[in-house]
Symmetry: C2
Subunit: 167 residues, 2 copies
């Protein structure tokens, strides 16, 4: 589906950016629902250049979206696709088969998960609001809200699980 392609075109539609800018954006809010490593971003930029969707300028080190790139982005933006959130959750797998191991082990795993997710939530609550540069961008605010409440919901569920196993 080349979703990363459209992330980059979306960013460049708002502004010309350096490689570092793009990386920073993708490691920020975007990374919370569509992560990508350097080693994926770099080839994608090269591919987009070859396809004539973006142009790189040596002197300014800026990537710029072409008219074709912008059109591609806009065509994608209004496309009504089937809901396709892909969630892969290895911890659910462990919990599903937890009757094969000691209850105390499961409790330990749960506590560890809770600790990790609470740390993540704290990080999100601190860092995400800082990324909101333009308060008029409703979409950005709504996505941010979603990321945080999703994390909170996961913690709530983990704690519910813990209470079941602690009896």
């Amino acid at each position: 589906m080349r979703t990363l392609k459209y992330a980059i075109l979306g960013l460049l539609t708002e502004d010309d950016m350096t490689y570092a800018d793009i990386k920073e954006e993708i490691n920020g809010l975007i990374g919370q629902f569509w992560s990508a490593k350097n080693s994926q971003i770099a080839p994608e930029l090269r591919k987009l250049s070859q396809e004539g969707a973006i142009i790189y300028t040596q002197e300014s080190t800026l990537y710029h979206v072409t008219e074709y790139g912008r059109e591609e982005f806009l065509r994608w933006a209004i496309r009504d696709e089937a809901c396709d959130t892909i969630e892969k959750d290895a911890f659910c797998m462990r919990l599903l088969f937890s009757d094969n191991i000691e209850r105390s082990q499961t409790v330990q795993l749960l506590k560890s998960q809770i600790g990790q997710h609470k740390a993540k939530l704290k990080y999100l609550e601190l860092s995400l609001p800082l990324l909101l540069k333009d308060p008029s961008n409703i979409g950005e605010q709504l996505v941010q809200k979603r990321i945080i409440s999703k994390e909170q919901a996961y913690i709530d569920w983990l704690e519910e699980c813990l209470s079941y196993f602690n009896d």
Copy 2:
């Protein structure tokens, strides 16, 4: 991380199964947090046979987990790994960049998503409880609860989004 491997070993630890049985389980509850197509299950079964983790019997058409396979599974089951739920959500990407398109288009996309997710929720609420064969399996119940409340939370968020864009 070979999570599919451990899904299969986990299933076979509970009981010997045919290919169809395994497929059915993976398309059921497991598929809600770790989906896999036939074309991934078949090679994985072959690989597990080669590795000596499972044995296939022609006559009974049953897959059976070996002692080595069971040990592998148990080692994995108690492993305390960093939280690594991978969520990829293309709709969040569209919403994030929604200030580039007409508000009415965004409203339309939101309504479509809401419809789709409500249909999915209805399906989950109907089908998942039927899969609960063993009521003593707490893990199964908790995972099922999680799947359904996650879907509900997504719908709630979409409706909140809609109310913002409808003003």
